[in-house]
Subunit: 299 residues, 2 copies
């Protein structure tokens, strides 16, 4: 797969995921309109769909087919979207803009934003359970995925990382603490995205373990890249005010290591993630391109 | 089972559930202390454990044993507790007291309360998934329970009802709307508590359907009783200020129907819930006592 083919791949995968997300959030249910609108607003706000793409690419890397993995991939985006809505709330990061648009609570009010987040998280598990009921012969595998997703999203993962983030504001973190925070806050969900796709796609234990290592390094790479963009990117690229981390007294990699060392670390993490893929053939090319792509975002 | 035996039963069940909840929230995990403390604070605040008790009693009614159902019963209490924490938030009901103690956000701050709710909801699904992985031969059943719990907790159930509640403040509801709101907000979780216990306990389809009907009427009875208590109860009994619904312009049964008619409806719902149990033998006695108990709370 060359670079051009990769960009076509990305576009096609994103379209596939967007279409399914759109379908999932439009299926008629006996629920109040407002909450559906609030969920739609944030879910279909034009995210990059990194987590579901990683999930599908994880299945492909081990030779699995992607159709039966697609609902789980979408569930990961539901969880990601819930976390963004709650992180943006006034009591948390108090952000007014996300992806270039007013945040959920700015449009629908705080109560509805809290509930929209709650609902997206709940729906995510409904989606995985339903998917497992359709593929009954793999029921146990879906329970395993559900368990790992919950672990990655909960106190040992994303929520735990967000707690560390909230508690660290205005305090000086060590580099080890900063890494641990990001491992939990974004790393755990990145990791489970790849591994759950590979697991449902029929991957062997050592393949899944290697993809877990890939996910760990990729997750950290994403975070360092985000921190760098936050310092040097422009508002248009990020869809939110840049430099906001610093003004809020948040610890970031550039703040602790300087810009050059941060870029070096970013490269190091990307290389480690590529190394983890060494036992895979060209079916893992999308995962390889995804990793190098992180380095190439415009700074 | 006579009245006295029922009260012993209630005490024993509550002790069993409290002990397991305490264990679940104390198991060492790699998570920040603060969030564990916030979750503990609300989870172990001395709730009546109605939902887990209903779940265990549902299993017993169909002749199932309760040990393997206990984790799912506890997961229902995790979900209930999350909903209380989020409902109490300033952006929602803005309540300062719950069960006679300051609410979670009053003690731990708003950010931590939002996250504690998110974490409890997430853990609930982890618990059910883990339980299904332990009882592998019943994996499909656990997926089914997970799906139904998510439906009962999400936009078609509890969250949907809370949205209707938020949107109805200061507006006049019809009696049909008020009933529909409560069916979603509290009824759906009450129903799924009984039916999931019966389903995992090996109940037949018609038994589970009958217990669903029981749950529907019981849920409504609980709500009418709560509304009545809110008007006439005293602060000590409820652990929060009474009359708070009225002062907030919330629609309630006593407000719409008057106190006497509300009490008559309460009795009617209790009787209907008992009727639904007519095909069950004495193993459903705890469920019968639970229903009549609702009528007997002190007004």
């Amino acid at each position: 797969m060359n670079r051009e083919e990769f960009f076509i791949y990305l576009r096609e995968r994103k379209a596939l995921i967007d279409e399914r997300l759109e379908f999932m959030i439009s299926a008629p249910v006996r629920a109040p309109n407002t909450i559906i609108e609030a969920m739609r607003y944030s879910l279909l706000a034009g995210g990059k769909r990194i987590r579901p793409i990683l999930c599908l690419a994880g299945a492909e890397a081990v030779g699995g087919e992607i159709d039966s993995v697609l609902p789980v991939a979408c569930a990961l985006e539901f969880i990601h979207t819930y976390s963004l809505i709650h992180d943006d709330l006034p009591a948390m990061d108090d952000d007014d803009f996300r992806r270039g648009r007013p945040t959920c609570h700015r449009v629908f009010g705080e109560a509805m934003a809290i509930l929209a987040g709650d609902a997206l998280l709940t729906e995510a598990f409904a989606i995985v359970a339903q998917s497992g009921l359709i593929h009954r012969s793999k029921a146990e595998k879906y329970l395993q995925v559900m368990y790992e997703m919950a672990q990655a999203a909960g106190i040992t993962g994303m929520v735990g990382g967000q707690v560390m983030d909230v508690e660290s504001e205005g305090k000086e973190l060590t580099l080890a603490d900063l890494k641990r925070m990001h491992e939990k806050k974004t790393g755990a969900m990145i990791r489970v995205s790849v591994t759950s796709g590979a697991f449902l796609g029929g991957g062997k234990e050592d393949e899944i373990s290697a993809l877990g290592t890939y996910g760990d390094h990729l997750g950290l790479a994403f975070q360092i890249a985000d921190d760098i963009l936050n310092v040097v990117g422009d508002k248009k690229l990020m869809g939110k005010n840049t430099g906001s981390d610093a003004s809020r007294g948040k610890s970031t990699f550039p703040l602790m290591l300087g810009l050059d060392e941060s870029k070096r670390r970013l490269e190091e993490e990307v290389l480690k993630s590529l190394e983890a893929l060494s036992c895979f053939d060209e079916k893992a090319d999308p995962l390889r391109h995804l990793a190098t792509f992180v380095m190439e975002r415009e700074y």
